[in-house]
Symmetry: C2
Subunit: 502 residues, 2 copies
Amino acid sequence: MKVKEFPISAGKLICVLNKIDAEDLGVFPGDRLELINKKNGKNSVAIVDVTNSEVKEKIIGLFEDLISLLKVKSNDFLEVRATPPLKSLDFIKKKMDGEKLNGFELKEIVKDIADNRLNDIEASAFISAVYMKGFDLEETTEITKALINNGQKISFNKEPIVDKHSIGGINGRTTMIIVPIVACAGLFIPKTSSRSITSAGGTADAMEVLAPVDLCFEKIKKITEKHGGVIVHGGAVDLAPADDKIIRIRHPLALDPEGMLIASVIAKKASVSSKYVVIDLPVGPYAKIKDKNNAIKMAKKFVQVGKEVGMEIDAVITNGEEPSGLAFGPALEAKYVMEILEGKRFDNLAQKSCELAGAIFELANLTGLGKGYDMAVDILHSGKALEKMKDIIHAQGGKIDSSIKIILSPLNKEIKAKENGVIQSFNLKDLTTIARISGAPANKLSGVMLNKVEGEKVFKGDVIMTIFAENKQKLESALDYTIKNTPYHFKRIILSSVRDSD
Amino acid sequence: MKVKEFPISAGKLICVLNKIDAEDLGVFPGDRLELINKKNGKNSVAIVDVTNSEVKEKIIGLFEDLISLLKVKSNDFLEVRATPPLKSLDFIKKKMDGEKLNGFELKEIVKDIADNRLNDIEASAFISAVYMKGFDLEETTEITKALINNGQKISFNKEPIVDKHSIGGINGRTTMIIVPIVACAGLFIPKTSSRSITSAGGTADAMEVLAPVDLCFEKIKKITEKHGGVIVHGGAVDLAPADDKIIRIRHPLALDPEGMLIASVIAKKASVSSKYVVIDLPVGPYAKIKDKNNAIKMAKKFVQVGKEVGMEIDAVITNGEEPSGLAFGPALEAKYVMEILEGKRFDNLAQKSCELAGAIFELANLTGLGKGYDMAVDILHSGKALEKMKDIIHAQGGKIDSSIKIILSPLNKEIKAKENGVIQSFNLKDLTTIARISGAPANKLSGVMLNKVEGEKVFKGDVIMTIFAENKQKLESALDYTIKNTPYHFKRIILSSVRDSD
């Protein structure tokens, strides 16, 4: 068939057929075809879209992605073949019917997802099946291996490679404190982080205030080997393509099947050759995991699956009930972290970071059990972690290397207490929403800064929090939301009352 | 934002944003936005695609579907707003977690599917959840009502309106025999049929050999009221848009959750105002339902759900073990049906058609219990059904009104017996595959005709079946497949033997 170019990237391998040709080939929208460029031997599977008008008979419309993959242009000829049914579809159906999948079957599914052979409907059915039927330990291990083998791997000439990962849901940039501390101790930590999906900012967003984070493969390797650590955006290096595609499918319904989550985290760590990994599982009403017993069960699985792929894991359950640090939004978080490294603050975020760094030290046998925390605190207090962070910032190409250099939005508003009392709790979900309304994370200068901590005594007129906004309109919206959904609560003695009229 | 047109129909409501704008709006690929054309008040929800290059900042790319919906053109301005999270997503998650959904929740989901607010990932998660968690009778009834209320309805000035529906998996064009018989008896049967998805041809494909089947709303009404029946392609009239979209999602994994199937069939019947409906549930190794007990359970649900929406249903379990008639492929099937109406044949297809027509007569109280079959056979033998079929063909705009006018492919090949014996069975799946390889249903003249029936004595050299193919290459492929997968089996006395070497 003759090619017609559509100069649009669909992010998927889509070809457009005339209705008559589709009928001839016996394919429906969403079905697959094999396309072969006989001139150069390039071939690809494509997902079919059907039209009545945009392409005529005997013409095949190709989006950018296929054009560049097959190296064709308009009016070139392509051979078009029906593909045999994918085996992975049978395996997905099998999982839907509640049966266990073996390594071969999971490998086929992962391969077909990575190569875009499964369409969204099919991939979503797979994730839904895993969510509803679950993965046992063996299946979790097998899909972890499949994800690892389907991606790339950065190998380092130094060792040991260590890493840490927090299962989201909680604010706080521990990574930016842990990486310099750990690097000071002679370990190597090539930390890839994500941008925010639903929060006020991810680690990659906050680090980007200080230095570029979209680093290539080679630079990550070079800086880690020289300085002991990097803090980069994982999305910039295509280390686990299948996993990235699975995450895209998980996103709309926020489906986090435990087995998939474990596999995804461990595969990402394996792709940077990590040997010792600390997994942070925060438990709390606003965290992903609400219940401690579930966290412990999950922690055990992390350790076991890690072992199967040659990784030593310490999965720690952490208190995720209160905000971790006081900042919400990229620049506020970056400034806050730098102040901790500069010795201007030491709070629950600093403490958590030192505890996690300490766990890494103990796991990597740098110190005895129970002594890691002190070692981390010593490094932090010595000022060496700050120097190391500056080295990393400069190596990544950044210039903002101290808290006073960080600019916040000049458009801000303080929220003051209307009574005397003690702050019982902050609502993390509301704080995140306010930060997002104010412009974070897309606008890095915006967000929310708390001026009080939980349990702190407050007098009427005291500033409880400050909102930094991108523009006037966003500031007003954020204030409006704050008034309607007070994100903090005072301690009360009378919890409720019953009166006659009730 | 400024509009840029992409002159391609995506079949979905997709808008393309620059990565920077997407970040600003806080949306990811697959998320939704509300688009408002302030000039004419038109608005629509659109699903977001993100690009680095094809559209610049502050530009929004729109595919044909949105262009015509919003009535905009390139360089027009659109207001773009984030949409609040869809409630239906919570309901889908609820079903995934095994909870029962109520009428309101199902209505929301159906509405969001019909209006393209749910993307493929989300809709697939819903169908997967229904497949894995099931629908109870109440949920099935509620989603049936939601589908009915979301579509259009053809109302007739005549009554009673009757209908029949076969749950697929088996060949045989009973519809084309039942409709004229039933119409002769003074009932009204506006039959909408489908084209083939996985078989050698659907009823719409076979009827199209005789007359046009893509009729509009008004013509269906007029012909049914005048002649008592039509046989048209249901896809041509958009009676149940939500159902059509759900079927598209069900197709790739062939997911047929029972509750969805029942709801889909009953909603389609309700959309043509049917009062008395016979549902044919074939049971057999190649039919959709393999087990009689399951068929009975399903039949009971059909009756109950029908009752809830004011429809009287007789759900009959039929023998689906052997081919129903001898033809596979549109023209062969059309010819075969006309020969039955002309009185040249009376076999298991004719019998099944008369039994089902009889069931309709009894359901509509035209005759007493047990007397419907004889009444149908009388009408068929009288020649009145043939005359009625000619009227319907002419009314639909067709000219081919007798079996001898139907042309078959001149390129055909007989398959002969290599030994004497008795045919024990045909493999329906293989026969379908051979017919499809030979060119059916896209090429209407192609297919397979059996020259023997199950249980028939065969002598060496007798013709067992004939393959009619679109071209030489397809004929060779079909022959090749036939030789490799003998689609018929002779009776054997020795079923298996155990020898020393085993």
